[in-house]
Symmetry: C2
Subunit: 195 residues, 2 copies
């Protein structure tokens, strides 16, 4: 039995190529032709794996979304005081964002032009809402300041975390995922000033 | 003397139309034809005001950059303890971002494909560097924590501030510019947790 080059492609490797091309050209600006060239396989070989580019988008953003929701199921996100649970979620969000950088980058760029994109935006909103509820509980508990409105605080914290996709590069010497996560936790929970 | 419609256009109003179109379509995706349609004036009328779309881009990002650099010249940014100066700069950056929302949004989307874009990126880097120096001085002074590396802290704080362009809409009932600025200052300097 011989193995032609295209047979070495699995749905997983095709997905990672597609995510790279989507991030470079934008999802709207990517054609099956672009994907075929980047993967070095024919369009019909791609159609052997997936129904089209929207299925690749769905798989890619699902990977990021599943990663985010899985954090909420971790023990430290479920058990304990709300502020500690929130701290765990923030730390893990940063680690997950860095571990799945291209997938989360794509998720954050989704704009809502297709059904899959709207579905992804809905799930992102659900996730944001779950984190906002945790922040609310922590404020009600008196552990977290009550003088910044919950929705505004959630947006700003997500803004800080999500901005990491703009500059973090795993191949450049710099902070590790744990160092970045620790820095975010310190800034978000204790701030810059010495108490 | 009669006033034709195109004569009511000043470089200023043309600029605000151009910035809106650049933000909607992307700078690369905007043609003089798009600008002419959006402004409701002929291309030759536009050329009466400016040499082309790159001049409009330069004027637009200059407005945002000049606004940012002007903050550093304000008295509270120059006089006092470094941490207080930094706090002033952070607060004013948020207020400026909201006051000049479309111009700052455009500046943050600049990617470096043209000479003007590269020039804008250079000036943004200069500004970031000036703020990082202030943070470094505040840490050396012992007023600000030294356990988060200065460049990383600067990136995260800028990430939080810049993310405001993604969701802030002046026409929607919500937080005012001062409320958002106050929330950012509280989070960045004191964090979420009660001391």
């Amino acid at each position: 039995m011989t193995t032609a080059r295209r047979d070495t492609y699995t749905p997983e490797t095709l997905l990672s190529v597609a995510v790279r091309v989507f991030n470079e050209r934008g999802y709207d600006g990517t054609s099956m032709e672009h994907l075929s060239k980047a993967a070095g396989i024919s369009k019909s070989s791609i159609y052997h794996h997936v129904s089209g580019k929207e299925e690749l988008l769905k798989r890619a953003v699902s990977r990021a979304l599943d990663g985010l929701f899985a954090i909420l199921d971790e023990e430290h996100a479920r058990v304990g005081r709300p502020a500690d649970r929130l701290e765990h979620v923030v730390r893990r969000m940063v680690e997950m964002l860095i571990a799945e950088l291209p997938y989360v980058t794509l998720l954050l760029r989704v704009r809502g032009n297709t059904e899959t994109e709207r579905w992804a935006l809905d799930r992102r909103r659900d996730f944001d809402h779950r984190v906002a509820e945790l922040l609310k509980a922590a404020a009600a508990d008196g552990e977290v300041r009550g003088d910044v409105e919950v929705r505004l605080a959630t947006r700003l914290v997500f803004g800080m975390i999500n901005s990491i996709v703009e500059w973090y590069r795993p191949d450049v010497r710099g902070a590790s995922d744990r160092e970045v996560a620790e820095a975010v936790v310190r800034l978000v929970f204790s701030g810059l000033r010495h108490a």
